[in-house]
Amino acid sequence: MNLEYFVFGVMFVMALGASLAMLFARNAVHAALFLVVTQVALALGFLLQGAFFVAAVQIILYAGAIMVLFLFVIMLLGVDTREALIDPLPGQRPLAIGLGGLLAAEILWVAVRGVELAAGGEDQATALTELNQNPGNVKALAAELFSRYLLPFEATSVLLVVAIVGVMVLARRIGRVPNTGTGAESASGSDKEGAAA
């Protein structure tokens, strides 16, 4: 059981360190790679807590698909765009950092105190391991997902279709549409970007 604490410590340092490094990374590509490290560490945390299928999905979908999409768009827009350090709103940065620190302190206090108040956490922890052994993690998930959560599940499929259609409408080139003014502009602009990249 000491090993679990060790793995948790590694996970903790990895996740928090990578997300802090993301905060200080000036380059967008570096931030994306640090986000991948954070997500892999979180998948480790899911494994530690018996959520095996969710851990696999986290790696495949988040660290795989979504981050590749991010990197693709970063490369499409050009990597060398420097971030402006001028604050149009004076004092926003220190205020944001101060309020973020306050938020962190509040959440930490709730995490330490609230879990004690909720009580009964450890007794139930064995229930999940039993559930993982008897029907199995994936079977238990599927039984819940396709019975009690069937309506939200179908609603998410509608959401995905709406998102796909919306993206196709947004990303379509408007070159062939009669009002050629904006279309020609955007086409030449993207050509220039392509040449620069």
Binding site: F8, M22, A51, V54, G100, A125, L145
Partner: protein, 101 residues
């Protein structure tokens, strides 16, 4: 005796705070989206921790819904950023003030 849920919740809270600070301080629209992803990931960790605390898989199912919403949000958001930078040549959120009074 396994690691207490409070530690996981503390980690998730710290990560969420980092995400909030990042989303408020950065200027690049894509990087802001990454910090929103970080916040959603912290929420996923909270859901999985609660799932273990209460001993059923409902929390893990909620993770799937968060994931689907995050995927849809990222896809649409990145398409909007792409269109904006195609039109105005920048992904800086301060330069896009078309709707400002």
């Amino acid at each position: 005796m396994s690691v207490a849920p409070g530690y996981y919740l503390a980690l998730a809270g710290l990560m969420f705070s980092v995400g909030v600070v990042g989303a408020l301080t950065r200027r690049n629209a894509i990087v802001i989206f990454m910090f929103i992803e970080l916040m959603l990931n912290a929420i996923n960790l909270i859901f999985v921790t609660f799932s273990r605390m209460w001993g059923h898989v409902d929390g893990q199912i909620l993770v799937f819904f968060v994931l689907v919403v995050a995927a849809a949000e990222v896809v649409v958001g990145l398409a909007i950023i792409l269109v904006i930078s195609r039109r105005r040549g920048t992904a800086n959120v301060d330069d896009v003030s078309l709707l400002k009074w």
